[in-house]
Amino acid sequence: MISEQAKQQIDTWVAKYPAGYQSSAVMEALKIVQAENDGSLTSELIQAVADYLEMPVISAHEVATFYENYNHKPVGKHVIRFCHNISCMLNGADDLISYLETKTGVKTGEVSEDGLVSVKKVECLGACVGAPMFQIGDQYYENLTPQKIDEILDGLQ
């Protein structure tokens, strides 16, 4: 289930911890495996990661469900991770999320029909200075307005 290439990547993380503590690499391992499986995890993939790191599968599952960064349903090519914590909320995040939903036709937690975008509400991404904001891939988009959202969406392929 895990490609050789991904295993090599995981091994570099395992090597950072003392011998016998390979399960410490679980967060990175889940991230690596998620990345090579179109951005989401399944029970089988979590099982494979747990087996590879010789840890109880429920412990890997605990990590995978604790953090927002792991997706447990298929996601679009671009995941729009919209912050809805206090700074963004005070600056109108909720209205902008509704706008984004209407504009893309995608409800939070779902994927667009063409598989291009999915929308996810996330906790604080540490960019309160630029609230309201969202993240696509590794890129932060700050001080969002409906116009700005339109431009960003138009740029997605």
């Binding site: 979590i46 109880p56 599968v57 429920i58 412990s59 469900t65």
Partner: protein, 742 residues
């Protein structure tokens, strides 16, 4: 550890430096409310219920994770402590459904008790409560996770005690749930203890669900006699029925845990297959008769035959009293044909391997060599002690026919078919003796040694507190005596202790009263000799006898008169028996269990025997009286126990020669699932529905399968074949809940 003095609620109490406040308070009988703290589990400090006021601290401190220090002044019920406890209680009750009237935990619920004391009678919470969907975790534990307060006791129990991490806390915040990864069911053989540790009604007993309210039951102290430990239990009864079995604390025996087998086997008592009325066979037809008639028929049949033609076979799970009376009856009749070792391939009169280690002593070992045993399933509580030793760094090595799934890491393992076990152990012994510069006995001179044997020998001789454990599977081995002898020698050469778990149940009671032929015939020889009269004490040959077909065939002879004392009806017993005397089952009779430490634990009957069945000791006493045998003037089972316990085993040990015996090229190791190990568990439906209970496979390696012309999915002795390389060459490992077939 330094003794310190602290003050709790104005009382001066003593503790050790570093000990938690709650543990000192518990010892002193000072009540501090708690949910997540459990004396046998690690400290999580996540429920915050045990907040107490420690003078000098601005904030209240959790008593479970605050170490006591000299001169500390603690208040558990001043205003500050009470205010915090009340606040925590309010938070804990926010999402709790308060469905106590329909909750099985009601009446014995820690949350209910603490809420009575510390809760408010009015809730300020008007919002919707959280609801958690239940995944379902198997046949033994009922989940109602909406009631869960996230104390994580069950999670810690799995990780720390059961050794299989199955439950976990997934999600976070409002979404946090306690659940297993998949809903396939919990696999631990100790899982039922999660019910005991759960402070609320989230995990309750599934077979007990909606049976009766907890306060309507009476608790009777009893002892479980499924294994060599004799775990202490409470049987909880209502209207003459056992409704539930829970653990009873006994630090030196079972601590606070019991195995699932001990906990759920009681279900079999209410099974419809119980033998409830005396029966005699008249012209091939069964007739239900009175006890008088049945006993009359029994003694006239026994009297017709000579003493030499009389044999008695008994279950290993019988009580000490039953075994004592049956051997006395047999010996008074003038027969020495006695045996409980029905499942042993080659029962001999050799002295059994002695156990020289205590249960608590097992926790202190630094190396354990486990031979012929799936100890985790055979003797869960003994295995638990060894697991505790491994947590302190002990290493485990095994010599087994199959690579078993232990709940600790096995450092080195040797796969060895029964016919090779003597050779494997001889090699280990040779290395040990050579490293001690001791002279080699003749039988070791030609022994070749390989690296695996050297590793095991070195690990054993490096260990300061080693133990060698001999398990149940050795009974399938025709060379069992030689194996036992080698174990003894290996232990001697490495200064290790020994633990004999080769026969389970109340087998040490059988040893105590010498329920073995002293010059007479053993089980196998009795069948070979075509005896004319048998008394079977709770024996079911289809399951219990090593060659079940031959046993049944022999017992079915026209000239074989069979009296069967049975707690359950069984088709094969009905086919060959002439008289059936219904026998009181577990918890229905008073009795005594002798455990692995040679501790005799007596218990009284928890409930009256079902139907017309009677306790075995009474039946055997009356039988002896009717046979006009002297010395059976007992009025109470405790008198029988006193007589039995005053005996000292009289069997002279015979020498065992370690010689190559003729053994088949391909051997079968037959092991029942722990839930098919005795007649009561076989009739407990819930245990049968567990993953452990449903196993039925004959594992064989590819090469061996080729020789036997078996392919995947075929049946071997009625058990589906599974070909893989976890099993030793030259043997078939059968793990099953099915009766033995040829």
């Amino acid at each position: 550890m330094v003794d310190i003095e602290i003050e709790i609620d104005g009382n001066v109490v003593h503790g050790h430096s570093g000990e938690s406040i709650i543990s000192i308070a518990d010892r002193e009988g000072i009540d501090i409310p708690r949910f997540c703290y459990h004396k046998k589990l690690s400290v999580a400090a996540n429920c915050r219920m045990c907040l107490v006021d420690v003078e000098g601290n601005p904030k209240p401190q959790p008593a479970c994770s605050t170490p006591a220090s000299a001169g500390m002044r603690v208040h558990t019920n001043n205003e500050k402590a009470k205010a915090s406890q009340k606040a925590v209680m309010e938070f804990l009750l926010i999402n709790h459904p308060l469905d106590c009237p329909i909750c099985d935990q009601g009446g014995e619920c820690e949350l209910q008790d603490v809420a009575m004391e510390y809760g408010s009678d009015v809730s300020k919470f008007n919002e919707g409560k959280r609801i958690v969907a239940d995944k379902g975790i198997g046949a033994l534990i009922q989940t109602d996770m909406t009631r869960c307060i996230h104390c994580t006791r069950c999670v810690r129990f799995g990780a720390e005690v059961a050794g299989i991490v199955e439950m976990g806390a997934t999600g976070r915040g409002e979404e946090l749930k306690i659940e297993p990864f998949l809903s396939e069911g919990i696999q631990s053989e100790l899982s039922g203890n999660m019910i005991d540790v759960c402070p609320v009604g989230a995990l309750t007993s599934k077979p007990f669900r909606y049976e009766v309210r907890s306060w309507q039951m009476s608790s009777v102290q009893s002892v479980a006699r499924h294994d060599l430990v004799g775990s202490n239990v409470f049987t909880q009864t209502h209207k003459g029925k056992v409704k539930r079995v829970v653990a009873r604390d006994n630090e030196s025996v079972n601590e606070t845990w019991i195995s699932d087998r001990d906990r759920f086997s009681y279900e079999g008592l209410a099974n419809e297959n119980r033998a409830l009325t005396p029966k005699i066979k008249v012209k091939g037809e069964w007739q239900e008769v009175s006890w008088e008639t049945a006993l009359e028929a029994a003694i006239s049949g026994i009297k017709k035959n000579s003493a030499e033609a009389f044999g008695a076979l008994a279950s290993k799970n019988a009580t000490l009293e039953e075994l004592y009376l049956l051997q006395k009856l047999t010996r008074e009749l003038g027969s020495e044909n006695l045996d409980t070792r029905l499942d042993v391939a080659n029962p001999s009169s050799a002295s059994a391997l002695e156990t020289t280690i205590s249960l608590t002593g097992l926790e202190a070992v630094d190396h354990a060599l486990i031979i012929n045993s799936y100890l985790r399933l055979e003797q869960p509580m003994i295995n638990h002690r060894i697991r505790k030793a491994t947590l302190q760094g002990a290493k485990v090595s095994t010599v087994n026919a199959k690579a078993f799934d232990f709940n600790y890491r096995v450092a080195s393992s040797v796969l060895s078919a029964p016919q090779n076990t003597v050779v494997t152990l001889s090699g280990v012994l040779k290395v040990l003796l050579e490293s001690n510069s001791q002279a080699l006995p003749d039988y070791l001179k030609g022994t070749k040694v390989n690296q695996a044997q050297i590793d095991i020998a070195n690990a054993l001789s490096a260990a300061e507190n080693g133990v060698v454990v001999l398990g149940e599977q050795v009974s399938s081995n025709p060379c069992a005596d030689q194996v036992a002898k080698l174990v003894e020698q290996i232990a001697k050469a490495s200064n290790a202790k020994t633990l004999n778990a080769s026969a389970t149940g109340n087998t040490l009671s059988a040893e105590k009263v010498s329920f073995k032929p002293n010059g007479g015939l053993n089980a196998k020889q009795m069948f070979d000799a075509d005896l004319n009269a048998f008394v079977l004490l709770d024996v079911y040959p289809a399951f219990d006898c090593v060659d079940s077909a031959a046993a049944i065939e022999n017992l079915s002879r026209d000239d074989a008169f069979v009296v069967a004392l049975n707690s359950f009806e069984d088709a094969s017993v009905l086919s060959f028996a002439d008289v059936i005397l219904p026998l009181a089952s577990f918890y229905e009779t008073s009795g005594t269990h002798i455990n692995i430490e040679n501790v005799a634990q007596s218990y009284s009957a928890s409930v009256k025997a079902a139907g017309d069945s009677k306790p075995g000791w009474k039946v055997l006493k009356v039988l002896a009286d009717l046979l006009e045998l002297p010395g059976f003037d007992y009025t109470d089972s405790s008198q029988v126990a006193d007589d039995a316990l005053s005996l000292s085993p009289s069997l002279a040990a015979t020498e065992v020669d370690i010689i190559a015996m003729e053994v088949p090229n391909i051997a079968t190791v037959w092991q029942y699932t722990p839930y098919a190990s005795d007649v009561l568990t076989r009739h407990s439906q819930s245990l049968q529905q567990t993953q452990i209970g449903q196993v039925s496979e004959a594992t064989v390696s590819e090469a061996t399968a080729k020789i036997l012309e078996l392919s995947q999915g075929d049946c071997y002795k009625g058990v589906p074949v599974n070909i893989n390389e976890t099993v030793a060459e030259g043997c078939v490992f059968v793990h099953t809940n099915q009766a033995r077939q040829r």
